[in-house]
């Protein structure tokens, strides 16, 4: 049904078509980035089911997680007994190395103290339990991801080396796809820099088909490596919303200096990431990377006229949206609407500064929803939508091309395997965006205006 009202009424209570979801799913995704880890949802069965379903739809891979299966009784008397039974069954039946417990709005509301419950538990030899508090009524799924990463740092990382360093750097990749994590690792590797990435969902949620099901595929950061992150020289947190807290925790606990950067989407953010690696290690940038960069600039120059002056609406998760805004500006696209569902004013400040720097006038909102974006677009349309699958209702109604980027992508495939970060990720985004814009031009061209060469 079409939106009747163009007039934008201020809403103080109602969210319509959210641009965020709740904390536990982010915590579950982060936990899957630990080798042989079973995420555990301490709450009603439905939470765990919803989160597994949604992650499975995005990744098209098995997503394992267990639940405390709260009943009405547990909700009244507390979830301790459920958690005890659950852990017994989990270690006996599913045999993970690590269990990462996240709370839910239910267990948070009744005040279950997971820390003390775990402390009183008989954990099998060689097994580990970590836990994060992830109330659904605070922040968003990105907050949940950040909280679970912070829990990894706080509950696993240790300083054990005598001289305080293992010679490695830590990289916290943020809430990105495994394809992005692979690319970040590739760049760091060809720079010749030893590193620990956590969480790392490569090889877990993009595992190959072999004819044999592995409940815990080979991927993910081992507990040993996360422990060792306390000995690293420095931490790079990619994306302040998803990764900064983890880096700060490593600083507090183990004196590992934090460096918070943008998610490396687009040329500028990738340059900054590589410059940071250079500054931290003194390594030279190899020709292979310089070549990639040169190719990217070549492409950007060759195609700038496809993008110049085009107006875009960008929406999704804050770290991705901030970086996409910078990429759009670097191509000459004007991001006139920039919106995230995650509530935090620093998002608005950062994006507004970027837009002001480029002389673009745009509306920016944190804690917004897609109904508001739809109303903005209804008043003044754009040429392009950049965001997740939920943008398709707006795309359909207003007949605007939607390039799917971010989380979740439920109606297209392959996105989780290939990067949007780094120079090669930028090439891929340019291919997608120009493809969408030019397909539209071809579709709308009159017979005499249809161009063979563009």
């Amino acid at each position: 049904m079409a939106v009747r009202s163009k007039e934008i009424e201020e809403r103080s209570a109602l969210v319509v078509n959210p641009a965020k979801t709740c904390q536990p799913i982010g915590a579950m995704y982060a936990a899957l980035g630990i080798n042989k880890c079973l995420p555990h949802s301490h709450g009603s069965q439905g939470c765990c089911s919803f989160h597994r379903m949604h992650l499975t739809r995005h990744f098209r891979d098995p997503i394992v997680a267990s639940t405390s299966s709260f009943t009405e009784g547990a909700s009244v008397f507390g979830g301790r007994s459920n958690l005890m039974t659950a852990m017994k069954n989990v270690f006996n039946i599913y045999d993970p190395d690590v269990v990462a417990i996240n709370t839910t709005c239910l267990s948070e509301t009744i005040g279950d103290d997971i820390g003390s419950m775990v402390a009183g538990m008989d954990i099998p030899e060689g097994k580990t339990i970590i836990h994060a508090s992830t109330p659904s009524y605070v922040g968003s799924h990105i907050t949940g991801f950040s909280n679970m990463v912070q829990a990894m740092a706080k509950q696993l990382a240790e300083t054990t080396e005598d001289d305080g360093t293992n010679g490695k750097i830590n990289i916290i990749p943020g809430f990105v796809d495994p394809g992005d994590m692979r690319e970040i690792k590739r760049i760091t590797k060809i720079m010749g820099i030893p590193f620990i990435m956590f969480p790392d969902t490569t090889g877990v949620v993009d595992s190959p088909i072999t004819g044999k099901y592995e409940m815990y595929p080979a991927g993910g950061t081992t507990v040993e490596k996360i422990k060792d992150a306390g000995n690293s020289k420095s931490t790079i947190a990619l994306g302040s919303f998803a990764s900064a807290e983890g880096a700060f925790e490593l600083d507090r606990k183990c004196d590992v200096p934090p460096n918070v950067l943008k998610t490396p989407i687009g040329i500028k953010a990738t340059d900054e990431f590589i410059m940071q690696l250079v500054k931290m290690t003194g390594k030279e940038v190899p020709y292979a990377l310089e070549e990639e960069r040169g190719q990217l600039v070549d492409i950007m120059t060759d195609t700038h006229y496809h993008f110049h002056g085009k107006k875009a609406a960008i929406f999704g998760d804050p770290d991705i949206v901030i970086a996409l805004t910078e990429l759009a500006l670097s191509l000459g696209i004007e991001p006139t609407y920039v919106l995230t569902g995650t509530p935090d004013n620093s998002f608005e400040e950062e994006v507004e500064e970027m837009l002001a720097g480029a002389g673009v006038e745009g509306k920016v909102k944190a804690g917004g929803d897609l109904f508001e974006l739809q109303q903005w677009i209804k008043n003044e349309s754009v040429d392009l939508l950049l965001g997740n699958t939920y943008g398709k209702y707006i795309a359909k109604e207003k007949d605007i091309p939607l390039v799917r980027v971010g989380f979740p992508i439920l109606d297209r495939s392959v996105h989780s395997y290939l990067p949007i970060v780094g120079y090669r990720g930028a090439m891929r985004l340019i291919e997608k965006i120009s493809g969408a814009l030019l397909d539209r031009e071809d579709r709308e061209a009159t017979e005499e205006d249809l161009e063979l060469v563009m």
Partner: protein, 531 residues
């Protein structure tokens, strides 16, 4: 052999879990007349169940498909978000109708609402919905924290209903209630029965019917309605696929209730009978044979010779149209086996369709079924209520003296009951062959073990299992969402189903799983120089 597999499977469980799970599995034996199975019990914490929660059953399943209603979810954002557009209950907007299916509404409770209460925010959200969307009705569904902090959504709803003059219904369907989605179906349906059914009168035409427990996944309801209307039935209301609250208001004026999903709605069908005198007939619209049988039963129920003739004509026409394509796909599917784990009815309904394309179901189970869905309604008196059941309020209805109308004489009812499942359902197990496995609330570990042991050609389940099976090289068909295809119901739907199953079993991709170098590792031919 099967018994051994089950025994070994159970051995891996801790003792208490083992005893529990054992009760939920049965191998159908020839000499055992009435196999019994445990169902609708709590899932043990830590077990990776496929089950969802009460909220999912209430808002996600039963209320969600009602398209003319704004569904406000009162709670943190997630519950509303995950039930937004994910269940494929399609709904066409008719002239002059409102349709909010593509929208998602939430009060997005924050920590301050948890501490100080969310009633004010809920009221404000209702005001904003009315102002912006002007719906004909609103539902408010409760999520876990709502009940815990004591928000009274019903009194907020009542006051707002008075203020705005439209139905505003509150549903206490907190996720922790009951043991699965099933509790939510009850809460939703009971309230529709109590507050919506019978609130508007209608002049019906010939053969007015309701379809209960049909949710129009992938357009199933569209296909069923096409055939029923072709025969000449008037569909008064559908609970709830492609449905409207407006139609449900008039549903008491039908002369027959068809029950498709027995699990989610059989008790409502009983209430219709008690209150308004409308008998119900268990139908199965999945698979051409089952569909034809159901249509014939319906015609016989009304007993009108013209309707019977017309039914036969339509069946013949439809069967003729699908004969050739169905035979073609059958050839590609024949001789295979299937495992089914889905729903509270589908694991039964789809067995017929699988058999029609030459695939033998060897294992079947429900995610949230009750014993009567397995063993038939005759077992209902034996089922004892658990504490979890007692937390779901019962609805008692009385005869509506003004509107109660006997549709059939007692004699005719009795006679028809002998010929068709009138007011009856015989359950899944009776239709299964000996030696086949029935498992309730199948979990991740059991799925893995049994798929490895049985190696079916197809596993009909949901999204959480799908890729587990496929990593093993077993095609998995989502029978909740149809993998975004459909309709699968009715005559034409059967062809879609057969096409998709044959594509899934026979896709060339399976042949590439093993890389060629794993099969032929030797060096062959002449090579120049050293490698």
């Amino acid at each position: 052999m099967i018994e051994n597999v089950l025994e070994n499977l159970l051995d891996a469980y801790p003792a208490k879990t083992m005893r529990n799970r054992k009760e939920h599995m049965v191998v159908k034996e020839a000499d055992e007349e009435k196999p019994s199975i445990e169902a609708n019990q709590r899932t043990i914490p830590g077990i990776m169940t496929n089950r969802g929660c009460c909220f999912a059953g209430c808002k996600g399943v039963v209320l969600g498909p009602l398209k003319d209603v704004v569904h406000i979810v009162h709670g943190p954002i997630g519950c509303s978000y995950y039930t937004w557009g994910t269940r494929r209950h399609k709904g066409k907007t008719k002239e002059g109708e409102k349709n909010f299916l593509n929208y998602c509404f939430s009060t997005d409770m924050q920590d301050s609402d948890i501490v100080f209460g969310g009633e004010k925010k809920l009221k404000q959200a209702i005001d904003e919905v009315v102002e912006l969307f002007d719906p004909d009705a609103i539902t408010i569904t409760a999520t876990c924290p709502v009940g815990l902090i004591g928000d009274d959504i019903n009194s907020v709803a009542k006051a707002a209903q008075k203020e705005y003059g439209i139905p505003i219904l509150g549903f206490d369907c907190e996720g922790y209630k009951g043991v699965s989605q099933s509790a939510g179906h009850h809460i939703a349906n009971n309230e529709l029965m109590e507050h919506v059914v019978g609130t508007k009168e209608k002049e019906t035409k010939k053969y007015p019917i309701n379809i209960l427990g049909e949710y129009n996944i992938g357009g199933d309801g569209f296909e069923i309605a096409r055939v029923l209307e072709k025969i000449g039935y008037e569909i008064v209301s559908i609970m709830t696929g492609d449905g409207t609250l407006e139609d449900i208001k008039e549903s008491h004026s039908a002369d027959l209730n068809l029950v498709q999903c027995h699990r989610s709605i059989n008790y409502i069908a009983e209430m219709f009978e008690e209150k308004y005198g409308i008998p119900w007939l268990k139908v199965n619209f999945i698979g051409p044979k089952a569909m034809s049988k159901s249509l014939r039963n319906m015609a016989k129920y009304f007993g009108d010779e013209e309707l019977i003739q017309r039914t036969e004509k339509v069946i013949a026409e439809e069967m003729e149209e699908i004969k050739e394509p169905l035979a073609k796909y059958r050839e590609l599917c024949e001789g295979n086996t299937a495992c089914l784990f889905v729903g509270g009815s589908r694991a039964h309904h789809y067995q017929n369709l699988f058999r029609e394309i030459g695939i033998e179901p060897v294992l079947a189970g429900y995610e949230f079924g009750h014993r009567d869905d397995y063993e038939g309604r005759e077992v209902i008196p034996e089922i004892t209520k658990t504490a979890d059941d007692r937390n779901i309020p019962d609805l008692e209805v009385e005869k509506d003296e003004k509107r109660y109308r006997l549709r059939l004489s007692k004699e005719r009812y009795k006679k028809l009951k002998e010929e068709m499942p009138l007011g009856d359902y015989e359950g899944m197990i009776k239709e299964m062959d000996n030696g086949k496995i029935i498992i309730d609330d199948l979990n991740h570990y059991e799925t893995e073990v049994l798929l490895n042991a049985l190696k079916p050609a197809v596993f009909g389940s949901g999204i959480k299992d799908k890729y587990v099976a496929q990593k093993m090289g077993i095609f998995s068909k989502q029978l909740h969402s149809y993998d975004y295809s459909g309709p699968y119901a009715g005559f034409k739907g059967a062809v879609n189903f057969a096409r998709d199953i044959s594509a899934g079993i026979n896709t060339p991709t399976w042949s590439h799983i093993t890389p060629p170098w794993k099969n032929e590792p030797e060096i062959e031919g002449k090579l120049r120089g050293a490698i």
